[in-house]
């Protein structure tokens, strides 16, 4: 009898508990994350909020993708509710929030579930894109980015345990979503807060839905944009918001110059 593949849940929790190479191994229980109560000891914060330079370095990875937020909003389809996603976030096994979460094996395991074959040989372009983002996360050396990415992987994989979302996610946007949460949101909000704090959980759920190409159930684009803008930690961080504004400015100027070149020059009157 051929060996049965290990249950997904087993593989997932084991990979989530793996340390990155050359780092200490951490055996983490696969229990859901427990929000701290007033009496409980606060969850240790292994790393202070990312220093501005670290955050900017992570944001640079996101900016390099040159995502056009306006188009993303415009193309969103009605999706799952914020509450569904937020609930899933609250149910994340603690192992996913380990500082040492080994993001690449975790991503490989989840893709293996999707594709049912050895991940290194996955021919699918989208699968490779996801692995590339996961590898960028690993290479960043940022625990915030790793944990943010791990939470996204959890959201994808949690159907196995908690049943399908009301509106299925499109794998087309997996790589983009993984990058958004790891490199846009995680640099400004510790992913542990996505689980622990209701507002940040709402922000993470909305960010996840946006980059997954979905409008929150019951909201139109204007409402969804308005609420996320209010929650957006990046916009509320003055220095990083400036960085973001400059990035968007760069995109705009470049785009306008290209459009202007394609359109026409204006009449000129002399040599310069």
């Amino acid at each position: 009898m051929a060996d049965q593949p290990a249950p997904f849940w087993w593989r997932l929790t084991n990979s989530a508990g793996l340390s990155e190479p050359d780092e200490r191994e951490t055996a983490m229980a696969a229990a859901p994350f427990s929000p701290p109560s007033a009496r409980s000891t606060p969850v240790p914060r292994p790393e202070s909020p990312a220093a501005p330079l670290d955050s900017e370095a992570l944001l640079d990875v996101w900016f390099a993708r040159e995502q056009d937020g306006v188009n993303v909003w415009r193309n969103c389809q009605p999706g799952a509710s914020v509450a569904e996603i937020a609930t899933r976030l609250a149910l994340v096994p603690a192992a996913f929030l380990s500082d040492d979460v080994a993001i690449l094996p975790l991503a490989e395991n989840i893709l293996q579930m999707e594709y049912g074959r050895t991940v290194r040989a996955i021919p699918d372009r989208r699968g490779q894109e996801i692995l590339e983002v996961a590898d960028q996360v690993r290479a960043s050396g940022s625990a915030f980015a790793r944990k943010g990415a791990a939470l996204v992987l959890w959201l994808w994989a949690s159907d196995d345990q908690h049943g399908p979302l009301s509106v299925p996610l499109s794998p087309v946007w997996y790589a983009r979503t993984l990058a958004a949460l790891a490199f846009r949101l995680a640099p400004v909000v510790d992913p542990a807060e996505w689980v622990r704090d209701a507002d940040r959980r709402d922000e993470a759920a909305r960010t996840f839905l946006l980059w997954s190409g979905q409008l929150p159930a019951g909201e139109d684009e204007d409402a969804a944009r308005s609420i996320l803008a209010m929650r957006d930690s990046l916009q509320q961080n003055q220095a990083l918001a400036q960085t973001m504004a400059e990035h968007e400015h760069r995109l705009q100027v470049t785009k306008r110059l290209q459009e202007a070149r394609a359109r026409e020059a204006a009449a000129r009157y002399s040599n310069e």
Binding site: Q242, L257, E264, A266, Y269
Partner: protein, 461 residues
Amino acid sequence: MSDPPGTATALPHPDDPLALAEYAPGGAVALTDAERWPTLDAAGAARLGAVAGHPLAPAWVHRTGDRLSADAIHRATTPLPAAGWLEEHLAVARRLPAYRRRAERLGALATWPTVTRDDLLDDVSAFVPLDADLDRMVEGSSSGTTGRALQIPDDIEEVARSFHLLVRLVADQGIDWRPDPARMALAYVVHQRQAFTYTSSISSFGQATMARLNLHPSQWPAAGQRTGFLLAQQPQVITGNPTSLAELLHPELVAGLRPLALFSGAMALSLGLRRDLERAYGCPVIDVYGLHETRPIAASADGGPFVVLDRRVHVEILDADGAPVPAGERGEIVVTAGENPLLPLVRYRTGDFGRLVDVAGRPALADMEGREATRFVAADGSLVPCVDLTQHLQAGGAHGWSVRQAGDGAVRATVVGGDPVQIGAALERLLGRPVPVVRVAGLLDLGEGKPRRYESLAPGA
């Protein structure tokens, strides 16, 4: 007025191995006439149509307008106030993305770092204000003779205002230049193998006509066509560079044209050519020094030093380390330029060298270098202006280059970046002789100064 440009022979020839796609007739046409000239009235349209469709007109490569609304026309005809502009300019510049992280350390002008063309090539958007009105942006490429093409955000109104600068410079010579419905207001002439050519209406100058004309013989297939067209239009003012202005010395043109003034730019105008043009036309010849990035900086109407223009421009002379040279000493011309609201530059290194002197109480630039007008001698004896080489060096992807012709006619090129094989083949076709091309790693390997070097020691160049 929405017909496609030019119905005459399409140039360049489709089989021409040196043809560059962007110079195909109509290749860059995208707007409607209502967008090109929002205020154009019936009389203006008739004048424009008469030029565009003149039987001797060249095959227009392009169609373009000034895009000025009525409000914009009013603004374009009014010079920006120059009093106290520098403080305001520096305040704007401190908010540019390029300076944000060190804005608090930037005080008076002397505390600012210099900016180079490479900085703009790296990320020109960092020098565009975050609150700039990008709807007024048109794209300009700095061409020409100064290395890798740079995309520059130009402001529609500033481009139009540059025309009125010419009007003022003519007025400074005691000449009243007004629109004359019977004449073309301005002919902007070039002389190169391929070029954008078009005719347009100057909305802010009585909707008078203007045209960018390529005087290269290949653009005028019919005998007498070039002279006939120019004489028919009788341009009031002609602008160009030394190569194209030299064409105006053709006896038929000298006999028939009656310009109010001639303007030269882009390259150094030799005293000999200046005097020949002055004698031929009996009008002022005004040499304007400027870069596309900075806009016009200074002008010389008499062949002497270039007097810095009374506009939002400030000139310094710095040494290689960025320190001011002693008064009157030679160094690099560094310009702070505030005319283009989309590209407010602070201490921009021009790559040109000269001395700052005083002319009647005004700062002026003397002994300038860096604008040499080089021509190469092709195997058949014809003269090829360096701008023709530039087009193919840029098309081949070169970021910088040195092209030298020895006294025996042999030509060698050194390039930074690009495809040496493609470039060598193009230059060989252009000059009719083999051109070995060597690729080097960086601009520094070309030596100091502008990332272009042209030199020809061939007799007759």
